[in-house]
Subunit: 110 residues, 2 copies
DNA sequence: AAAGTTGCTACGAAATTAGTAGCAATCATA
DNA sequence: TATGATTGCTACTAATTTCGTAGCAACTTT
């Protein structure tokens, strides 16, 4: 399971373009959620697991490894937390919240 | 495989919050990529498949169904294309390109 | 009318994800 | 300082997802 990193991509993408690596990384189950849950507070393994609906520890473990390798999170004395780049990713993904709301609206109008 | 929709989520998320449905939907392999490839040009099934590195037609087919159900794409005489909401999603995701570039930078500096 | 193209389904194999159990290390409490 | 709880994580199996190939019916093109 080659982890997606820029420059040396990844799962079914032969292009080598960074955005494809992003799609690959974020397209794996739980990755966005994990980063999202870490956006405000550093958390321990088990805290994180709990916040992610009790996701299985084996998967969480591999996700953590990949996200660390991708330099999006790091382990500190406070637990796992976003790196600067990781945080900036969450910042650029933040408008998703608003979009999600309008998406939801669209469904109510049916 | 319950498809993720707002209000009635989804795979391992019990919250019911729209953003979680987004994470679920976009967290499935190929979904972001498919939307991304459609952002400028409507495309036929086989075109789309080709652009997505020849992804397997069975998966593409189920993805198309889900994305249609989520009202992000629609089938027209020109092929599959983004709906308005789908397009707005791509707009809010657009800054990812720039982020990906800086992410890549961070790796070069190692 | 023959040959190609397109959209899609079937189906078995491979890979990913889930779930449960458990264990060594640290921490807290008594 | 013994005891019990908590934490971080690994092992292992089962379930689900994804892949890959083959193929077919409905068009289109020649």
């Amino acid at each position: 399971m080659t982890p997606p990193l820029p420059k040396k991509p990844v799962r079914g993408s032969s292009t080598g373009i960074a955005i494809m690596a992003v799609f690959d990384l974020l397209g794996r189950k739980w990755n966005m959620r994990i980063l999202w849950e870490l956006r405000n507070v550093p958390q321990s393994f088990r805290e994180l697991q709990a916040r992610c609906d009790g996701m299985s520890p084996s998967v969480l473990n591999t996700r953590i490894k990949q996200l660390k390798e991708a330099q999006l999170i790091a382990k500190t004395t406070d637990g796992y937390q976003l790196t600067d780049i990781g945080l900036s990713l969450m910042d650029t993904l933040d408008p998703l919240r608003e979009w999600a709301a309008s998406w939801e609206e669209a469904f109510k109008l049916e």
